[in-house]
Each structure stands twice: as C-alpha cells, then as structure tokens.
Symmetry: D2
Subunit: 278 residues, 4 copies
C-alpha cells in the first residue's frame, strides 16, 4: 500500500519517510519552545545608498521605505533546539520597504538575500517560509585589537568583509528603549518556486511576511560602534551560482555609513506565524 500524507503534518521532500523534521516539527510532531535558546550574536553594519538602486531589487507591489539604508548583518546562532543543540551562522542583506497588496499593506525590512552555512535550514527556510536563503561559508568572526572581522566565502572565494570597531555598550535603559521601538510589521520576503518543465513559469510566487512579534526573544546586551562592509566583485568562474547577487551588492553606492550594532539575544520563535501577503 502506498503511503498517505498524514493530516495536520508538515512534509518536505523526501515525503516518503513520513512527516519532515525541522524547526516547526520535531519527533512525533512536537513543537520547539525557543525559550532559553537559541543564543544569537548579531553584528550588523548599515549604510545609506541610492533609492533607485534599491528600487530595482524590489518585486512588483513593493516600494522602498522611509530611507534607503541597507543593513548587512552576520548572525552566529548556537543551542538551536530543532538541531538538538547545534548552531549555524547567517549573513543577511536588508532594507526598509513597504508592501502594497490587494489586502495587505505592511511596512518592514525587506530581506533581499540570506546566506547560511548549513543546508538543512536553507531548505526548510526556502520551501516552508519563502526566505531567500542560499549557501556560503561563514566562519566564526575574528576579534583582534578591538576590531571584529566577519567574512563570507563560497568554496574558497571570499566575497565579503564586514568590520566593526570602537563599540560602546548601551545601558539597560537604552536597550529597553531600543527594544520597545517598533521596527515595522516584520520582515518581508518573496517566495518563488519554478514550475518543473516550464522553466520560466512559477509553481509558487507570492510575498510573505515574518511578523515582528517574538515574545520569547530577550535582548541581553547591545553595543553601538563604527563599521564598514565590502562585497567583492566576482567573475562567473569565481562564483558560478552567486556572482549576479554579489556583484549587484558590490555596486550599491555607499553614500554614508550609518554605524554598526552588536546584539546578543536569547530565545526566539519557530516562525510558524509566517504568512502569505495578498
């Protein structure tokens, strides 16, 4: 007898071995609370660029938000419940945007691309959530003489350097003030899956939102400082699957740096509140 999909369960390819195991579904379908974990250190650098350059990175229905400021963030995550306590690292590029749909009108941070150094969350993040996750190597940051240096590479070709220095820690009051400030409705993405055999058509094509609420996420410490970020021009031979992305990021004009932020947080959510925008 062929198997039947169990009702109420999430599946991912291969579907043949039962419901998938991932961030939103553990053994026997159990959920992960994300209460005292993961532990995350995020290091980000922001810069002002041209509104026109960012507009060209937005699908239809979207427009650039209040100010064309790009944030490049490197996150090191440990103690992830759904990975039985392992961790991985991420590199994201985002900017403020507004989505004007037929039903939904939301403002938030548009996540243009999110590199991760582990395939498992890439797969579930793309297919379940519509995150534009792709793969690269993201080693632990180096810290030397007060400067933190993050890099990203693909099969040995380094395509990004992010450096942060002169950081000063915020007081608990400053952290509290920062946390209470609403940063919009959440994170905006565009989910897209090619239709097999009709290579320029889509099986899936819609905007999605990660709502900003994350009640279990506690900001432990925040520092502010100075930072720089560089994406390095690459040939197709250097980065045969990524060069188009990296070169557009390289070409973004850096009109003015807007500082660096280092944030330590504990706790999170399983992103099961991710929703389609219409």
């Amino acid at each position: 007898m062929p198997y039947k999909f169990q009702p109420g369960k999430t599946y991912m390819m291969p579907t043949h071995f039962g419901p998938s195991l991932g961030p939103r579904q553990g053994e026997g379908g159990r959920k992960f609370a994300n209460l005292d974990s993961p532990k995350v250190i995020q290091r980000s650098v922001s810069f002002l660029t041209n509104r026109e350059q960012l507009e060209e990175l937005l699908p239809e229905g979207f427009e650039v938000g209040a100010e064309p400021v790009v944030t490049v963030g490197v996150s090191c995550m440990t103690e992830l419940e759904w990975l039985a306590g392992r961790g991985y690292n991420m590199l994201g590029v985002s900017f403020p945007a507004i989505f004007n749909g037929k039903e939904d009108h939301v403002t938030g941070s548009f996540l243009t691309v999110l590199w991760e150094n582990l395939a498992d969350p890439i797969i579930s993040g793309r297919e379940n959530l519509g995150f534009s996750k792709i793969y690269c190597e993201i080693p632990e940051p180096k810290v030397y003489r007060g400067e933190t240096h993050c890099i990203a590479s693909w099969l040995g070709f380094k395509f990004m350097d992010l450096k942060i220095k002169n950081i000063t820690q915020l007081t608990p009051e400053e952290v509290a003030a920062l946390t209470s400030k609403q940063s919009g409705d959440g994170t905006l993405h565009y989910k897209y899956i090619t239709k097999t055999g009709e290579w320029s058509s889509a099986d899936v094509s819609y905007a999605v939102l990660t709502p900003s609420a994350s009640p279990n996420r506690v900001v432990k410490e925040v520092w502010r400082g100075e930072g720089t970020v560089q994406f390095h021009k690459a040939t197709w031979e250097d980065l045969p699957t990524l060069c188009h992305i990296v070169n557009i990021l390289h070409d973004l004009e850096i009109k003015e740096y807007r500082g660096a932020v280092v944030t330590k947080t504990v706790g999170g959510k399983d992103l099961s509140d991710q929703r389609i925008l219409r």
Copy 2:
C-alpha cells in the same frame, strides 16, 4: 521601479538579482552542453528486500516494479560545467517502480532520497526538478587492499557504510550490451513544496520524471563485484533532520545482496527534459 521577471528566463530565490544561475541557465542565459563533462564515477550496491517495505515508501499512484531490489549508489562528479569545473558527490537510494497516472504510465527507478554534499545543486534540484535532494557529508571513497569504502555523515555522525570488493572489469562488448539495455522510462520522483502558513498543505505536489535518454553520456568503463551497504540506526539527537529517513533505510531487510557495480562515465545532460507526470 520594481523589477519585472524577464520572459523566457528561469528564476530562483532570491529573484531580486535577476535570472538565476544554475545547471540549466548560465551567464546571459547560455546552456551547458555537458559533452566531455562531467566525469562521474558511480559505485553502487544492490540488495533484495521485501516488497511490502518498499510499497510503504511510495506515494499514491506508484507501485513497486518487477522486483523489490534496492540500489544504493555513491557518485563522485568532477568537471561540472555549470560549477565552472568544480565537482560534488551524491548518495542515492532507489528501486524499480511504476507510475500509473491519468495520462502517464511509466516504469523506471524511483529515487527515494538523494544526498549531496553541496547546497547549490540541492536547491536547484529540489525546486526546479523535484529531486528529493538533502545534504550530508560524502568524502572521497577510501580504497585499500582492493576494497572501496564509501561513507556518509551529517555534522560528524556517520550514518552509512558502503563497501565494494572483488571487482572485475567488463569487456567493451559487455559494456556495449549493458548500455543498449533500456532500463525503463527514466527516474521517478515526487515534488512537494509546503504552502507557507498552511503547514499541512502543499503549494506543489506532483510526480515528475527524468527521462532516461542521455545521448551525450558515454560509459567508459564498468566493473562488477561484491558489495555490502549498511545504514546505521540514529537517534533524533544524532540526526535531528534525517533520523526518520536513515532509520527506515536501516530497517529495510537485506534478503540477498545482488552485487556491486562501478561505472565511469563522461558527459551528461542538463535535465531540462524533466517533466511533470499526470
């Protein structure tokens, strides 16, 4: 101005940086001929198991083929054009199956799962082709005293050993005879993508076929020998995203080994003939 999807081009997330770069679309949309590359060494071991155990691995519309023989194959690929000459390795588990659709009635090899040790082909293989590709580490095989030993692991947990020995090379005539033998209509898969926010629903859910024709693929050398394969029982802590798959493969009864095959081939295809079965 937001970007528009260019007609006739394939996109993958992130779609914001232009048409994707991958196996079926290079810079400027060019195709890859796959004429003198890739170079592939495939090492496989087959065994007879219970028809009932395989039936449970088939989605509706499929049935087990002539004989319930599972083939576990490790492929080492080099000189891939679309990766500008790099390579990667694969571990697949398949068995003969028949698909009875409304329109299509095809026989072939059902690929239950295909592990690969590089994220880029996993992403395009899943989303574009509907291959059940997932990630693991697949180091180069060891060869010692006439025995070849392939392993697969995930973040340090080894879950498979495949060993081949006593191989003898086929004559060119035997190779020619082997190649001319039709092995069915191709490779069968089931493509499935979760619908965001409706976690037990699907955005995409259909059977797909990789047609068997591959005119540029030349079989250079073939050996036959003896082999064994073992999947190792794992806890959720060992393999929090893979244990359900590995443990079902571990539980397949090995009633009788059906020998090992080592094949060296050159050339291939871009799989743009992949098609939906109805």
Copy 3:
C-alpha cells in the same frame, strides 16, 4: 649568498623565509600580551581509574601523583592574538604526576595527549614546546535541554563523546578560593623527535614543564556538575594514525566519575616560560 639565521630569533621549518611567525613571535619579532584574550571555555570531566593503567602511560622518571584521576577537557578558544583574532579548539587528557629528575622534582598534571583542530598550533606546540599535540575535528559543543555534548572525530570517525549536565555556578568567593589553590608546579610533557634515517633513535628526548603561573589569566565564571566521557574502540582502518591512542583511552577503567567543571577564562600567556626538566 645563502641566508644566515638571525640571532635572537626563533625559526621553524621552513626556515628559508625568515624567522617563523607563531604564538611567541609575531611580525618583526613582537610579543603577544594575551591580556584581554584569548577567551576560553573549558569543559572537563574527571574519573577515577586504576593507578596501574596510568603508570604504563608514563615515561621513565615519572610516577603517578596522589590519586589516579583522569581529566578529559575540551577547550574552545577565541580571539587569539597570534592568529590575528581567530580561534581553535582542543581536547586534552591528563592526570596528576610527579617528575623526579636529576635536578628537577616537580608535581603537576601530565598531559598525555592534546588534540587540536588546527595544524598551525599543533606544529609550534610540538616542536617548540614539546606538547603531544595531534589533529582531530572538534566541532562546537551542542547544548540541548541543559546538557552540553562535545564530540571529537578524525576524517569522519567519531572517537569521543563527553557530556555534562546539572551544572550550578560557583559564587565569586568559591571561584576565588578555587583559583588561589595551587594545582602543583604546572603541566608535564615529554618532548620527542625522531632522528631522520635512524628510525628508532631520537634527535630530541626530554621532559618539559609548563609552569603553572599565568598572571594575565582571569577566571570569569565556573560551574560544577555531572559528566561522562567515552572513547570509542576503533580499528586501524577507522583511525590509522590514532587507534593505538584512542583504544588505550577506551580501555581505562572508569571506577567512579568525579564530576564536571565548566570554566570561562580571559587572558593567558605565550608559554615562553616552557622549560626543559633535567
């Protein structure tokens, strides 16, 4: 003109490119202060074993110390000055021992083996310091539901599991008391280098000491808890360079566990006080 060795400088192979760069000699010969770095988290588990089994691991001139208690420790080090802010991990196995030389009579901790996951400190540690450093993979520990799990593997073969749970943090007073307690004269090692061409003779063969003083090392936090450690029996095929070591560690009887300790420290020394024992 052939080069001459510069007086007052340390050299390592290759000597042809000038004085070596390493933990005790940076660019232009500068020293590293190790004041606010490295940052180290050490997780260790101890157990009582048989005095006789430990005696067999000691070279002549050494004897087992007060109690035959083995400590297995995994250290994760970051922000190393001499690596320009990078880090690496270590796995050491030690027990109390006494060295009775012609001139020196010292007690301390005998470091039987120290695995590290980076070749550069292995080379300088062996040749300059006489540490018995060898290579293995030591991923970041997993932390799940209050249990920390450290593993070690070599080319995919996992040979050690160390687990710690139920930890409680020491008060600052307890930490201070712990730190003031002298743990002997330091760490004991045996340096040995084969003579080329006379394969059973030595170019170098002497005991060495790492004195315990480390004035810049500050203990930040300490936890105590329960732990277990297992070395896994290996064949020569599994670990062709390590099986003799791992199997002897596997065979050590665990008569009683003596608890686990987690220690966070900042600062250290360049070990230039390492000295030969006579």
Copy 4:
C-alpha cells in the same frame, strides 16, 4: 612501572601509547609496500626567476643549481596505504640546488616549502623526514573548458592560483625517455627543530636528502602544456602564520614561464631511505 621505548620501533609524540602509526610503521610495525598505490596526479608550472632571489632562500652549504627555475606543483594523492586508503593533497615549491657538505656533495631539487591539507602527514613529514611541511586548504582542482585551475587557501584566504591549459599527451616513448632521465640525486631539505626554552637555538639542524630512486613508482601518463602561477600578497592579518612565506614567493620575479606538466603515477615508497647529509 613506567613504559620503556621498544627497541627497533619509531616513536612520535605522544610516545606514551606505544610506537607511532604512520607512513613507515603500521600496526605491529608492518611496512607498506606502496606497490599499486598511491595514485598521484601532479600538476606543475615552472618559471625562470633571478638566481639572486633563490640564493637568499638557501641555508648555508647550498647553492642554486644549473638554472634558477622554480617549479610549483600541486599533487592529489589517493589510495594511500598508511591512511587505510584515504588521500590528501600537496602544494610544493622547489628549484634546482647543490649541497656541498663535508662528506656529501649532491645535486637535486630543493623543496622550499610543502603545504599539505592534512595534519597527520605534516607531523610525521616534519619530524621524521625534515620536510618543510605546513598546512593549508587545497581543494580538488577545477577543470573547465580545457583549463585546470588549482587554488590554495588558509582559513578562507586564497593565496595561490595555478592554471594549466593547452595540454598534449606524450607518447609512451616520450614518457619512457622522460622517466629514464636522471633528475639529480633527489630532493633536498633542511630539518630544523627549536630547542625548548632557548628559543633562538636548535635541537636539530641539518640538511637531509630524499634519494631519487623510487622503483615502485610507475609513470602512467604525462601531458605538457602552458601554465601560470600566482602567489597573492597577504597581510599578517590575512595569514598570520604564513604571510612571510607567501609574500616572498609573490615577490619572485617571473622572467619567463617554462611550461606546465601533468603526470599520473601509481606506486611510490615509504621514504625510509631519507638520510641526513653531512
């Protein structure tokens, strides 16, 4: 009872677990024949440089040979007996040199540095043989549109590119002629081990020779072509243990390329004929 060193056996740190396991001593002291393995593909590029620049890379007692031609070679080795059938890769830089000792007068190829991507052979090669082996990442070469591209990196910083194209295969007669040509007495090295605690003194300091004879090594195929090689300038922050080496190699003037060679060989020796030069 402390252990005694067994007579006739080779030891390496840690000496406490019995005789070492390595290329010249397996389990129970057995030797490795290296008859049908390893399999090696070596890709090398040569160039004419300044005699003066090479003289500065030679220790006392050495002089540059007939012509100041540097050869940079990348070797991919598989099926190594002493690693139970595993493999690893190497990157060496050598040039012709003459050693004039008190007793020995030999000509050969001076191996200035040999990078390897596995720590185990680095340790035994340095300590037992006096090879100037150090660590870096050496991925499998890429082959695209007739060009082979080898790279080397250290913790993500790429420091070398070697490219070979337009290769033509030699006839069996040409290969035979090439093989019979004596290339001098062997490979020259300088072994050096720092004395612990006397940081500018040496425990070991002597020239060594790898004799050229290797009766079990069979040259299977040879190609000649064109090639280029580049070492990339690095800061101390990029390569804190290697920058002095890489930058001197970067500064070698390339007056004229002398072609590229690709060689496939099977078989070798355990290098137990390595000897000290006097």
